[in-house]
Amino acid sequence: MTDTMARGRAATPTTPEPEQPRHRRRTKSPYPMWFYAPAGIIYGVLFIVPTFASFYFALTRWTIFESEFIGLDNFRTFFSEPFLFESLINTLIFAVITSGAKVVLGLLIAVFLTSQIVARGWLRSVVFFPVLISAVGIGATFAVLLDPFEGLVNRTLAAVGVEGPGWLTDPNLALFSVALVDVWRGVGLAVLIYIAGIVAIPQEYFEAAKVDGASAFKRFWHVTLPLMRPATTTVIILSLIGGLRSFDLIWTMTGGGPGFSSDVLASVVYKQYQAGFYGLSTAGNVVLFVLVALIVVPLFWFLNRKEVDR
């Protein structure tokens, strides 16, 4: 659809007469519409077309070659099979927990790392570094570290006399363990965004508060926190989008198990795809799409509106 834009007529002929007659005469503007074409074609064909196609194929029984229209059957299956429906709940739990933890921990760590302490730069680098490591590498490492018997975590706990739980083998705990690792990996980005925000606060605000006799906690609560709203908006939206689509870490750490206890929408989409249920897989994709749209779009609108109101 975007490639039609390339042919859109120039609306603002601001250019002086082209001095080079051999250059395409038709282009009036120095900012030609066809600059959109390469990006538009790739994006349109490989992103927009599949997204619209998914709304149709979600309603079919589909082997990649032929599709049979079956109405809402896939969605009926999706919401009636407990193990499929559970993935929807798990996705929500995972996204909410991880983004909540990233907001709280990220802000606290950022405040700590902008205070007067030694080795500040080094600490910032260390906290941020896991963001750059592949989720597969982190997943494989923590799957070993969180092993119930031989893992480093439970061994350390045993050394101080605590019996560690089966982090990834207990169905009630697996999803939360993965969420914990996701926070470990992603909190550095939240910290970085908050640090950028805190550093931008004019120093006078803190000094004025200090002159008025505000304690360090009060300065945080009444100066830093309210001014961190834009940064919080960014952190929440980024980590919700990431959390709702999360796949790599869950797949490498638990594979959705034990049982289906840590399955999320993205892993269901993959499992159904592997099993050859392409229609059902696409229905899972559509459910994910609707979920992301229902959560992120109103949130985006709401949080941004609040900002303007102030």
Partner: protein, 285 residues
């Protein structure tokens, strides 16, 4: 930050040191230990690594493990590194050029399409890609299971972020510059590629670094759109090894180490750009 607190300087110094040292200890335990564990296990012999202890290797087998991992399954890791390099270089190059063009025209020219394009860019950041329909489209076009197909996929998925970065940055370049170049007889192509594009250098570096990290680390797209033997990227290889080497932890962790190192090097050299790119979202908001 609080530079004027002279009388409390002793107290501040005590805080500075205790808090700093506490921070170092805590981050060391939480963030550094897993990396040391990776390195130590990668250096052990198979028997010693099997115990999964956090201990100094009694016998260093680093080089042997390295050679064994590289030779495993007909040098699959070498293929994977070649694939990942081609993928990263090609897709990041296309992404930079194409989205710089979009960001530039989008910022400079107001037409009735702007609203739609801005909407599509935001959608690109939010909407999860529809997997099987994408495969269907790729099969129709003969792009499925091909490297250039995967490159285009990466470009499509990463473009929204790049366009936003470029649009913001182009706004800081004065229009007078364009006008001067047009006066001197530059056509649209020369204006963009010879005048504007070189001025985008700093944001281009940022975009390259951030996208290179994303593309290199991506697991899902190669898993879906580039399956088959000979087509592995490093992340997929690691995933396969994870299943295969559950008895040879030294080799698994050597593999993790090898895949982590490029990003570590990247971070050391491009620390500033990475930080700038990753936080740009916050500044825009």
């Amino acid at each position: 930050m609080t530079t004027q607190a002279e009388p409390k300087s002793r107290l501040n110094r005590t805080y500075s040191w205790t808090a700093g040292l506490l921070g170092i200890v805590v981050t060391a335990v939480i963030f550094i230990v897993p990396f040391i564990f990776i390195f130590l296990t990668a250096s052990k012999t198979r028997v010693e690594a099997a115990s999964l202890e956090f201990s100094w290797p009694t016998e260093w087998a680093f080089v042997e493990n390295l050679v064994e991992v590289i030779q495993a399954r007909d040098y699959v890791l070498v293929t994977a590194f070649i694939n990942s390099t081609i993928l990263t270089v090609a897709s990041v190059t296309l992404m930079v050029v194409f989205s710089a063009m979009v960001g530039y025209v989008l910022q400079r020219r107001s037409s009735r399409w702007n609203g739609l394009i801005n909407f599509l860019v935001l959608a690109g950041l939010i909407v999860p890609p529809a997997v099987v329909p994408t495969i269907w489209v790729m099969q129709r076009l003969g792009l499925f299971k091909t490297m250039h197909g995967l490159v285009f996929i990466m470009v499509a998925f990463g473009m929204a972020f790049c366009v936003l970065m470029f649009r913001t940055f182009v706004a800081t370049i004065p229009r007078e510059l364009d006008e001067a170049a047009i006066m001197d007889g530059a056509g649209p192509i020369r204006l963009f590629f010879q005048v504007i594009f070189p001025l985008l250098r700093s944001v281009i570096v940022t975009v390259i670094v951030v996208q290179a990290v994303f593309v290199f680390n991506d697991f899902q797209a190669p898993l879906y759109f580039f399956p088959g033997s000979g087509n592995e990227t490093v992340q997929v290889t690691l995933y396969n090894f994870q299943g295969q080497y559950s008895t040879a932890w030294n080799l698994l962790f050597m593999d993790i180490l090898l895949i982590t190192v490029p990003m570590l090097v990247m971070y050391i050299f491009f620390n500033r750009q990475i930080v700038a790119g990753m936080t740009s979202g916050a500044v825009k908001g």
